[in-house]
Subunit: 320 residues, 2 copies
């Protein structure tokens, strides 16, 4: 089996459709990996690209793509709501199947080094690929943003991991990293009372004593007219979806509020969903059979109350 | 209202009953606080004393007690299974009612300074009362134990907070601190399969991604012939008992194992129990009335499945 990674470059153009199309062109219709999506955001002035497949096959197309980004975006003129330090702002590799984190870290370093050498963009290694203390966290590296990096990069403790200690005049600097898949997961509460979502978020999130790898907050959905607990699950092995969902149900009971649904935003590894389906099968006293993706979706709708879920949301749907 | 603290000195003698009685004598029948218990452990060769009441009233008796400890225990000859760095090993103050953590920290510093000055025992401030980086954790300070402290205390970074940088030749050094109440809490599982307790402990404890302030492990109770998840709750406000109990029930469901009971070891602040009773009242749609201690015990037995619980286990039962 060839290794499968998810690669999610973010670049700092989210408005000019023509430019965006030209930038992502080298990533389209390539052998060995798939361009799953590219989602421009006008407010953010940023586009999030999702690739899935063999990282070896991604390398050359990624350099061509990054060259486009560098040549077509001028950070001196760019502005938007999302913090950014360069035209190619971040480029993380995420292990999905038949590859471990160490191998993803190695790939990130090879790609980071090559971007610096071939394209003259200084690169900071972040996440699991960080080498210098204090660089695991991307927001720490990016602090000061494009404008601030001009001086920051000259300080010895902020010299880049690859490339010279001076920003690329138009493209700034880039972060290249490796990390676990991050699951964006939201739970619907049948109430418009934001205070209830706030209290439940506080009960489950790591920063206030809850589950370590859960970031959570309250949100009111205007169009749907109810609140949600909105979350990132940073480690789905230690904090599986079913445990979060059941704990939220338990907390909601004291408010007499029903949990009516939940949703995955973006993509999810098959393993994440299967682990949680296993819990409900165990509770019922079933064994979980080998499931095709259609059946996984059906069961997830029933057991995990997923709405708007579909085979296309499962990463493995894009790997064959 | 006078402030109420719990003070839990641990001293390094757990075998010689006569000596133990003589040591604790100054703490008996004093005005303003109560000697709730002193529990010697032969294997540990250590005695844990529990005082409850007004910290002002405790001060002088604590100095007399510490003088006894210093004069009656020779650490050059002492040995036991529990790690220790001095005759008076630790002396923590814990806020219970009408006093906040800052005030407990101040009392700890006053007592620590006086012990060093009057009794010539070097004192390290730990827990919330720590002042030097790296001294919040008691095990870090105590590393090397009595024998190792002879040299360690001479290193500038390990100079004591109060007293000279040389151990007391017989009494070693002491830790004086302030911390939140720690709740020792165990949940009974109707199985003798230790693997199930291990898996559930892993799901809920902070070190493997669970609730931040929960330390948990599996244990098999020979005499009762079932397993337990045994826990310390380090912060009962962020990790209330009901949430731990309900999460353990939820995890146990996949193993088809019933949660048959739970128990508090040692003392528990009234507030801890009341907060959790409130959850079950909320779920039933009741309001929680003002409860006398007897009723708190009855409700805790019913809602929290407490066994062997009693009014005497509630700290506030000792404060009137």
């Amino acid at each position: 089996m060839k290794p499968i990674v998810q690669c999610v470059p973010n670049f700092s153009e989210g408005r000019d459709t023509e430019k965006i199309e030209a930038i992502v062109a080298p990533l389209k219709d390539q052998a060995g990996f798939k361009l799953v999506s590219y989602e421009p955001d006008k407010d953010y002035n940023r586009t999030v690209v999702t690739l899935i497949g063999d990282p070896e096959a991604m390398k050359e197309p990624l350099y061509l793509f990054t060259k486009n980004v560098r040549d077509m975006i001028d950070m001196e003129e760019q502005s938007g709501e999302h913090p950014r330090m360069g035209a190619l702002d971040v480029l993380p590799f995420i292990p999905i199947a038949d590859i471990d984190m160490d191998a993803c870290v190695n790939i990130a370093h090879e790609v980071g080094k090559t971007i610096a050498e071939r394209l003259d963009i200084p690169v900071y290694m972040y996440g699991e690929a960080h080498v210098k203390k204090g660089r695991k966290s991307l927001p720490k590296i990016r602090k000061g943003e494009f404008e601030g990096m001009k001086e920051k990069i000259k300080e010895p403790e902020w010299h880049p991991d690859y490339g010279k200690p001076a920003i690329h005049p138009k493209a700034g600097v880039s972060g290249v990293g490796a990390r676990l898949p991050l699951i964006a997961y939201n739970i619907d509460l049948a109430t418009d009372d934001i205070e209830i979502a706030k209290k439940i978020a506080r009960a489950i999130r790591g920063s206030s004593g809850g589950f370590k790898h859960i970031q959570a907050g309250p949100v009111f959905l205007k169009e749907r007219n109810h609140v949600q607990v909105t979350m990132n699950i940073l480690n789905y092995k230690q904090n599986p979806i079913y445990r979060i969902l059941e704990t939220v149900k338990m907390e909601a009971r004291r408010f007499h509020v029903e949990v009516t649904g939940s949703e995955i935003v973006g993509l999810v590894p098959l393993d994440t969903v299967k682990r949680s389906l296993k819990y409900y099968a165990d509770v019922r006293g079933d064994t979980l059979p080998e499931l095709d993706l259609e059946t996984v979706v059906q069961r997830a709708n029933a057991d995990l109350l997923f709405r708007d879920f579909a085979v296309e949301k499962i990463i493995e749907a894009h790997t064959e």
